[in-house]
């Protein structure tokens, strides 16, 4: 029995507003401290927050955005889309047929274990340093977690669901599409989430190694030419993009998996 007479004091203090304000206050305090330290030390490595902010506005509310941010995003989305389509389709198929899964699993586990950035040199060798290389490398990195998770999801479909479908005379293909695939969705989304963060990392790395534009190139180049506020501004932009992508992903996941969250015992 939950102890109703004892309020859950351990978990709460103050009103929700006060609790959120505290978090924001700490961030503001940290920024003010940064500003003061930076002004006091006047080191070029630590520019004041205000300088970073003005540089950020100046750099990114300008055609720069189209030159560096848009190519990064397009490459990333292209690579991620390829990885998602291939990963989900192959993963569900592999997971649905047990013998196929047994055959391929060790091979896939090994491919997944390769740190994806290690294949960038291969990509450069085979396709040069253009867009295609980056898209391939991103797709390669994001593919394995998506594929392996989709396969696991399809493999662990509750038996009674498949049995029920069979009893009702649902054909093999229909079982795959209307029972296995939806049941594997929670696993698929877990893989897609990992894949997204890997794709994001891979775009930055591939642009640092072989590129003439894009955010990875921009940040590294800013550092090398001692354009330090620009470097910080680039990192801030990456943080904003990362945050937005993640929020968009969670919104989609929440919608698609609404049925699943309702079904599972504890909220995720």
């Amino acid at each position: 029995m939950r102890n109703a007479s004892l309020p859950a004091k351990r978990l709460y203090w103050g009103t929700p507003l006060q609790r959120n304000l505290l978090g924001i206050a700490v961030v503001l305090l940290a920024l003010v401290a940064w500003e003061l330290v930076a002004r006091a030390k006047s080191s070029i490595y630590i520019p004041p927050v205000s300088t970073i902010a003005t540089t950020f506005v100046h750099e990114w509310f300008s055609p720069q955005f189209r030159e560096h941010a848009i190519p990064s995003l397009m490459r990333m989305l292209a690579g991620y889309a390829i990885a998602s389509l291939l990963g989900v389709a192959l993963g569900v198929l592999i997971g649905a047929y047990r013998p196929l899964f047994r055959l391929l699993d060790p091979f896939l586990q090994f491919l997944r274990a390769i740190p994806p950035s290690a294949i960038i040199p291969v990509g450069i060798l085979l396709i040069g340093i253009g867009d295609a290389m980056k898209i391939v490398v991103i797709a390669f990195g994001a593919l394995w977690p998506i594929l392996v998770n989709a396969a696991d999801g399809a493999r662990n479909v509750p038996r009674e669901r498949l049995d029920t479908a069979r009893i009702f005379g649902v054909g093999k293909t229909d079982q795959l599409l209307s029972v296995t695939f939806p049941s594997a969705l929670p696993g698929i989304f877990a893989g897609l989430r990992t894949g997204l963060s890997i794709a994001f990392i891979m775009i930055v790395v591939s642009e640092m190694i072989g590129s003439t534009n894009g955010l990875g190139y921009y940040i590294l180049q800013s550092q090398r030419s001692f354009a330090i506020p620009e470097m910080y501004g680039g990192i801030v932009l990456l943080a904003i993009l990362g945050y937005t992508l993640n929020a968009a992903f969670l919104a989609v996941e929440h919608r698609v998996l609404a049925w699943h969250h309702g079904q599972s015992a504890r909220p995720v």
């Binding site: 490595y45 060790p106 040199p121 450069i124």
Partner: protein
């Protein structure tokens, strides 16, 4: 992670033999050397220390970064999880820093720490800090309140309750976080070596690419894969050993 089933092993051998035959027949681009050449390069690199010394470098950087991240993440995670005011004070800053892709920190780290191994350790620690922090935090917050109330009713002081009730209960979640962090740490180790390294496996791979020593390059990549597989296996086993009593580890629940 599954055991290596014999058919799976056969498949790997089969693919290797197939690629070998295709390469020998000249049906593959010259960018794909036959697997036998890659294995020979691997054996040679291991024997003459060319790869071995780089592996040592990679592993020590990896370990330093992961240990640093683990200590920080577990301490801060437990504090945030156990003390509401700490959680509320830090949550916004965590939410703001977490989405920054770790590799974006490489230029910043180079600026402050140069190109050597401290820079790599810092980036690795930054990258592997977040998953462990979040899972520690959730593990501590998800501790059954009844268990804590029981401890309090029996007169257990809060500090001891933290050690005897909260930590063991949160261990399941911490162990999972540690495994995720270890995987990320290895990826970031190789990445930093590739982008801004002067040693390590990632550096070796890019050196071999530039020297057009393709079998050695593939041997290096193969070895990072082996390393990744082993690290995952070790932490997976560790996870199941540490929390042998949890239903998930016993295989009762997926």
């Amino acid at each position: 992670m599954q055991r290596i089933f014999p058919p799976g092993l056969l498949f790997i051998v089969g693919v290797t033999v197939l690629v070998e035959i295709l390469a020998r027949l000249g049906l593959l681009s010259s960018y794909f050397p036959p697997p036998s050449a890659i294995l020979a390069a691997l054996a040679q690199g291991l024997a003459n220390g060319e790869i071995t010394s780089q592996v040592g470098m990679t592993l020590s950087t990896f370990a330093e970064g992961l240990v640093l991240a683990s200590v920080l993440a577990i301490v801060i995670g437990v504090l945030m999880g156990a003390i509401p005011i700490v959680y509320d004070a830090l949550k916004t800053i965590v939410e703001l820093l977490r989405p920054i892709p770790s590799v974006a920190m490489i230029p910043l780290a180079i600026l402050f720490l140069g190109l050597g191994s401290p820079m790599r350790v810092a980036v690795i620690a930054y990258a592997s800090f977040w998953p462990l922090l979040i899972s520690t935090l959730y593990g501590v917050r998800a501790v059954d309140p009844v268990a804590l109330d029981t401890a309090r009713n029996f007169g257990v002081p809060p500090a001891e309750a933290l050690y005897r009730v909260t930590l063991p209960a949160a261990l399941v979640s911490i162990a999972t976080g540690l495994r995720v962090s270890a995987t990320i740490a290895l990826v970031v180790t190789v990445t930093t070596e590739l982008v801004a390294g002067n040693s390590g496996l990632g550096f070796y791979v890019s050196q071999m690419e530039q020297a057009s020593r393709l079998p050695s390059m593939y041997a290096g990549i193969l070895f990072t894969g082996v390393l990744g597989y082993l690290i995952n296996l070790i932490f997976f086993t560790l996870e199941h050993k540490i929390v042998f009593w949890s239903p998930a580890a016993r295989g009762a629940v997926q």
